[in-house]
Symmetry: C2
Subunit: 243 residues, 2 copies
DNA sequence: TCGAGTTAATCTCAGCGTGAGGACAACATG
DNA sequence: CATGTTGTCCTCACGCTGAGATTAACTCGA
């Protein structure tokens, strides 16, 4: 029986049908109280001229690194939360060849306008309700990403990835309201956030002045060290239908 | 500018470095009240002789179909729940070439002994605590799969995938106890399961006789049509540590 | 045949988190 | 200065929770 070293020496990677692996990123941010996703306009075939999620072929790097690279090609970003969403591999989802796409989900605080990347005619933050008719199966990927984001707000401190290093409880509440698409009771939200150990910790400081239209100075907080929220901030008013 | 059809005609899939995509399956079942995972012993290099998760290269099929095929090569199974876990693609995780593995999670009711498959010297159900030292990065994949399974029990009717078509509340409680590794309060569990709309529905029948060591005949239920549990069956006694 | 042990199913009770609403002070705007 | 807005805190009623006790049905061994 051949040793493992001898086996590997005689192994021919080209003996199998060619497949490719890409990463596509669902990058979310909040602009003017609205949940937005980063889209590019494809410059090349296939789907030239159509809007798509930023992404590209994986090179000699790890998957997480590839997703980060693709994201940085489109927009200048500082702190960003990145996690794998799932992988899409139906035969025929890409007309060129068999392509598997590992989708990622990214969250970042409010960002400036993106810059055009190499393989994209333009990039822009688009409100999620207007992000339809995307190339490939990106409509499906986006929908899956939104589902994941909405449910992760409930039981993880993910919302802190959407705001700056220091933030007020009101800003945090705006994040939940924007992602969930519904208003939240300010008093109850305040009580619940502060009652979850490790969610936020006080900086002792307050904002320099009150809100846009009045009100007292709000206390400032930063993200705590919790990885999971106990108890969770459950999302209200779900109909007990077929879910 | 060339049309999309002309572009595709001149496209050469072989112009990129060769990569491969595999599926690996974390198949879980409960045998004698113990949570077990399906493992195979690898017959060929690399990692010949080591235990591994069942899996193999994806052919011209979809990812879900590939996972189902790999599973059926190892064990005879009837009803099975299958879902994608995540994708592992670190360079170097397979010594042959760049291999991306799409991991799947499978749940099935108590099954008979598995059969040996094509590329496996043998297959066996192994209690999860004894499933260590696996080939490739399968230790990591298994750990991720167990995490997912444990948390999905809380908010989905997944536990019904571990039992037969008709089951008692006590059998369902055994599933939760086995997967979570802790005993549950029988009275509270009973009340909570029946209070969740769509989780289980009564068949009207009861078991033919009482339990092994006595007790009344238990009522029989089958799985309901709920996709998500409201309210969730939260897992008790989590320490509020660094989670 | 009868008692002991086991189990399914139900009930009770104190405690906690929840949603809803209100109170109040601090602040911006006109 | 008057008015409206906002952050923070409080109260209250309701529902779910965990823990324990209770009842009835059943198996097994003496």
């Amino acid at each position: 029986m051949a040793s493992e070293a001898e086996f590997l020496k005689g192994y021919d990677p080209g003996a199998y049908p060619a497949v490719a692996v890409t990463v596509d990123v669902v990058a979310l941010t909040i602009r003017d109280g609205e949940l937005c996703v980063l889209l590019v306009e494809r410059a090349e075939h296939p789907f030239a001229g159509r809007r798509a999620l930023p992404g590209g072929f994986v090179r000699g790097e790890g998957l997480d690194d590839a997703a980060l690279r693709e994201l940085q090609e489109e927009t200048a970003l500082g702190k960003v939360h990145l996690e794998q969403l799932r992988t899409y591999g139906d035969p025929g989802r890409d007309p060129r060849m068999r392509v598997f796409s590992v989708a990622y989900l990214a969250f970042a605080p409010g960002l400036p306008e993106p810059r055009a990347g190499s393989d994209a005619a333009g990039a822009a933050w688009v409100p999620v309700e207007q992000a339809t008719g995307l190339a490939f199966d990106h409509d499906t990927i986006l929908a899956d990403g939104l589902d994941r984001a909405r449910s992760k707000l409930e039981y993880t401190p993910l919302a802190t990835a959407f705001v700056g290093d220091e933030f007020t409880i009101g800003e945090l509440r705006q994040v939940y309201a924007s992602v969930w698409g519904e208003e939240l009771h300010a008093g109850n939200f305040h009580r619940k956030v502060l009652s979850v150990p490790g969610f936020v910790e006080s900086t002792g400081a307050t904002t320099a002045r009150g809100g846009e239209r009045g009100g007292p100075r709000a206390k400032l907080y930063r993200a705590g060290d919790a990885q999971l929220l106990h108890p969770a901030l459950l999302r209200p008013a779900r109909e007990d239908g077929v879910r």
